[in-house]
């Protein structure tokens, strides 16, 4: 059984403001309770498999020029820089 406090703790770590989203805790709890079905399957002989690609198969890691004016479309663009919000 999942404790709602645990969900709230994770939500806070995920930077979800529960003042706005508090009603979701009970719905997430319902979903997690449904996931308990995973306890019923025997996976003792299963390995986690994944697909791999060798580095030689990947495209070259090279700079692809883009339209340099892109940055100018940002709302807080100032001549040569982007003004970010002040952090306290």
């Amino acid at each position: 059984m999942v404790d709602e406090d645990e969900i709230i703790r994770v939500a806070e770590l995920m930077k979800i403001n529960l003042d706005d989203h508090g009603e979701h805790v009970s719905r997430v709890k319902k979903m997690l309770e449904y996931f308990d079905i995973l306890d019923q399957i025997d996976l003792s002989s299963e390995e986690i498999t994944s697909q791999e690609k060798s580095l030689t198969e990947l495209r070259k890691d090279e700079f692809i020029p883009n339209d340099k004016k892109l940055i100018e479309s940002l709302k807080n663009f100032r001549e040569h820089y982007v003004r970010a919000p002040k952090m306290n």
Binding site: V10, M31, E46
Partner: protein
């Protein structure tokens, strides 16, 4: 002008001079203007569609080399980027995001002279099954405006069904192409993982999602797949399509083929009686086409929904971290913020379903919980892949209804997250295993569509489309009542 036509018939008609590309495009845009206020399939329209059509007409009249599409109108799900146009993912977070580059699939369509009509509605960030989670309001089902069109590619499916374009591109993470295709009575194909480039598709769950065509006919899906499939240097997960011509031999039939009827998907408690009857009739149809049908049990299927939501939420939690209000996201005023509240503030722009997935995506892989949820889900995925691969040693195809139920009314299931999740019950297996699957419109009962799903082994799209075409040829469906 008859807008209820296939891509292939349209191309014939343009070639024979029955109408120009501009005339057809103009009629399509007029149709959108006339009915999309009710349907809400589109989030934005391509302002240059008429100009694009004129340019293609000029190419045709001057004898210049013309692309295979001959200017047929196609809509694009609004989580696929097109340079210089808004790509919102139906989220307030990206309400004003203008894509700086174009997705490979759209580049390939442009190269073959398709005309993009606009961007279609979806559940926010493609998370949902009804389009009710779009931040800009739901899309209505063209078969009955009181009913959901399915999702997440509900706008794409509705735009095709309502003759607001001839085809659309959707994306399918757990059934998001096939489910709305079933609900709106169009063809929806989820290809083998890697067959179609995801470059330019805004990421939700990278390890399983795929772009897929949504069309009026099976042949049109084969035609579109010919254009958009294949390796892409910008997506290292793409695989070689070996330049297959998916249209060639599509009418070959399925005589002698072996079909597995997936027990867990055709006898589940959630299956409606109408869908159950349609499934039995589908089996008879396949047998009358010369295939042999036999029940197959895949015992891992009851665990797939939990595994699917665990894996996708984990990937979504990571992918959505980029909407930090600095590189992406809406732009706050440059006042002072405390760091944590700054990020939290930007995240209030996510809608309810996305917020839930972020919380889930933080919970299931976290220390103390990963063993119970995430790692176990990856093992379920491995077990399922083995089961399905074994089944395909015996069978050419496996079938089930695409969705366990027909379309339902708005608001009917939105308050029950578990009921909503279970709508994906028949579709997530193809995603978790990377296999191709297609939804074929099969029947309309009480004015609402039912689609049938056919799944094949990896890279067997050609064979899959032959089976889909064979089934389609057994159906006679009414026209959409609009």
């Amino acid at each position: 002008m008859n807008l209820n036509t296939s891509i292939l018939k349209y191309i014939e008609d343009v070639k024979s001079g029955s109408f120009t590309v501009e005339e057809f495009t103009a009629a399509t845009l007029q149709r959108i203007k006339d009915i999309d206020g009710d349907i809400h399939a589109y989030l934005s329209l391509n302002d240059s569609a008429i100009n694009d059509a004129k340019l293609i007409d000029q190419k045709i009249s001057s004898g210049e080399k013309i692309g295979q599409c001959y200017g047929f109108p196609i809509s694009i799900k609004d989580n696929i980027c097109i340079t210089g146009t808004k790509t919102t993912c139906a989220s307030k977070m990206l309400e004003n995001f203008v894509a700086p580059y174009t997705a490979t699939v759209v580049n390939r369509l442009h190269a073959e002279d398709a005309v993009i009509t606009g961007k279609t509605n979806l559940d926010e960030f493609a998370m949902g099954l009804t389009t009710e989670f779009s931040a800009f309001g739901p899309t209505k089902n063209p078969w009955n405006l009181d009913y959901v069109p399915g999702g997440s590619s509900g706008g794409s499916a509705a735009s095709v069904a309502a003759n607001e374009c001839l085809a659309s591109l959707g994306s399918d993470t757990g059934g998001s192409v096939r489910n709305p295709a079933s609900f709106c009575s169009v063809v929806g194909l989820k290809p083998t993982y890697g067959l179609i480039s995801r470059y330019g598709l805004i990421s939700y769950a990278n390890s399983i999602e795929q772009i897929g065509p949504m069309t009026k006919t099976v042949k049109d899906s084969a035609f579109l797949l010919n254009i958009i499939a294949g390796q892409d240097a910008n997506d290292d997960t793409t695989i070689d399509s070996n330049n297959q011509n998916y249209l060639e031999n599509i009418e070959d039939g399925i005589e002698g083929k072996k079909i597995g009827i997936i027990k867990e998907m055709t006898t589940s408690d959630g299956l409606s009686s109408e869908v159950s009857t349609a499934t039995k009739d589908t089996i008879h149809d396949f047998e009358s086409l010369g295939a042999s049908c036999e029940e197959i049990s895949l015992p891992t299927i009851p665990y797939t929904i939990a595994a699917y939501y665990t894996i996708t939420s984990t990937e979504a939690g990571s992918n959505l971290a980029r909407y930090d209000n600095i590189r992406y996201g809406y732009e706050l005023e440059s006042e002072g913020y405390e760091y944590n509240s700054y990020i939290s503030k930007s995240r209030t722009k996510f809608g309810p379903e996305v917020t839930r997935r972020i919380i889930l995506g933080g919970f299931v892989p976290s220390a103390g919980h990963a063993g119970k949820y995430f790692l176990k889900s990856l093992k379920v995925k491995s077990k399922l892949i083995s089961e399905v691969n074994n089944a395909f040693k015996k069978f050419d195809y496996m079938i089930s209804p695409t969705a366990p139920v027909q379309p339902f009314k708005f608001g009917e299931k939105i308050d029950d997250p578990v009921t909503l999740m279970l709508l994906d019950y028949n579709t997530v297996t193809a995603n978790l295993t990377g296999k191709p699957a297609i939804s074929v419109p099969y029947r309309v009962v009480n004015g609402l569509p039912i689609g049938m799903q056919i799944m094949a082994n990896s890279l067997k799209e050609k064979s899959l489309l032959q089976a889909a075409y064979a089934l389609e040829s057994k159906t006679t469906l009414p026209e959409v009542p609009l």
